[in-house]
Symmetry: C2
Subunit: 251 residues, 2 copies
């Protein structure tokens, strides 16, 4: 398979797709996700790790709020990885991440993830390219471990936003009082490094053993629809069953 | 390098070695270990993970008690991995292990470790050989991660006891009231599977990327001397420096 070039992938929905119809379908999917997640939680055998990556304002928070809005909170957790603490810095980069992987029966959503350790750290040249490659190899081993040893499905989403759309959304965070809480000067600084970030993302996506879903993210209704579809299909494939009294296993 | 065969390695000290001289030297090494560990703790840059593996009664507890007896407890921890809890079983086999790796400046001693997941689990056929191989590959990736990403030196010791000596020591745990607290019927059950354990250990030792130290363990004074020597040499090589007021780095 040849390498993915992000500049060749549209960040917009296909022509002639209608917001209203997609939103209708998304609401339907969200309900089905809630239904299946309840069964998965009750069964307690498999788990799902959702990894959300994307530039600032690409809609990671929006995905969390929308796609998982009908789930049972007992069986789902969200971890937003921020700047590492001193204790986290005193360990390898996967130390804090490994602690947060889902237990059997649960969904865990990483809002940003271990990929930041080869994205922001690479773009700002806090680490060398040879360290990036070592870490990529550790990430592949780590994600494979989750899959084979604890039956965790790893779903990775890159929210593919255009630079123009990002700048528009960052400006809204200044202009709209409802959105000002999200404003952060450093987002503009990182935005200036757009091309370097695209290069770092392309490397991460192409060097990953577990494939990424590239989600056109300029329109939130299309982005939510796509992610809801993929999460629903993963749950459907797991086919979770409510345990019964006799034998505790309906199969 | 050709594969190690445990049956071809003596579990006894070389002829003409004298307990008294070795014990004298060991006491000397233990003091030097304490001195260097204090510096490593103060410096807070590197760490050491000591992995102790061996059959029941091979002396893992004795090593902990002797070799690290002069260390500053603030900078050292011991983790004895027991039968996994329900929460641990709901995750991959390295989940509980990764949480316990040393932070920068510290020594962590694993009394038993992630290797049990390819030893006891293999010998009792709780997992397939193909799972053993997957786990071995994950172990190599995990230990490499610690080395390159958090400057952790991984020191692995296999306490090489003869089957005859083990049976003698297990019998002592019945006959000697001072040792009865260590007696456990299941140790005798596992002892019957000696050959299968030796095969499982040989696989783990030969498939490891970070090499093992095979420690003849029938005599505790020789065992302690060897491990103290290796731990001392690792600390000496790290060459820890007490931070100073100016620049906080004497180099």
């Amino acid at each position: 398979m040849s390498d993915i070039k992000l500049s060749e992938i549209s960040s917009l929905p296909p022509k002639d797709s209608f917001k209203k119809e997609f939103n209708h379908e998304t609401r339907h999917l969200i309900k089905k996700i809630g239904h299946l997640q309840h069964k998965m939680y009750a069964e307690g055998k498999k788990s799902i790790l959702v990894i959300l990556q994307g530039m600032d304002a690409s809609g990671k928070d929006g995905v969390v709020k929308t796609v998982f809005s009908e789930t049972n909170p007992s069986g789902i957790d969200i971890t937003a990885f921020k700047k590492p603490t001193e204790e986290e810095m005193a360990h390898d980069f996967l130390w804090r991440v490994h602690q947060k992987v889902p237990r059997k029966g649960n969904i865990m959503v990483f809002n940003r993830s271990h990929y930041e350790d080869i994205l922001i750290q690479r773009v700002n040249e806090w680490i060398t390219m040879s360290r990036v490659e070592q870490r990529m190899s550790s990430i592949n081993a780590f994600e494979n471990l989750l899959q084979y040893d604890s039956d965790t499905v790893v779903l990775k989403f890159y929210l593919h936003l255009s630079h123009e759309k990002q700048q528009k959304k960052l400006q809204e965070r200044i202009d709209n009082p409802e959105k000002q809480w999200k404003h952060n000067d450093s987002d503009w600084e990182e935005s200036k490094k757009w091309d370097a970030y695209m290069e770092a993302y392309e490397y991460a996506i192409n060097a990953s053993e577990i494939p990424w879903h590239i989600i056109p993210a300029d329109k939130q209704w299309y982005r939510n629809y796509l992610i809801a579809t993929i999460v629903y299909e993963a749950l459907h494939k797991l086919d979770p069953q409510l345990p019964t009294l006799d034998g505790n296993d309906p199969k």
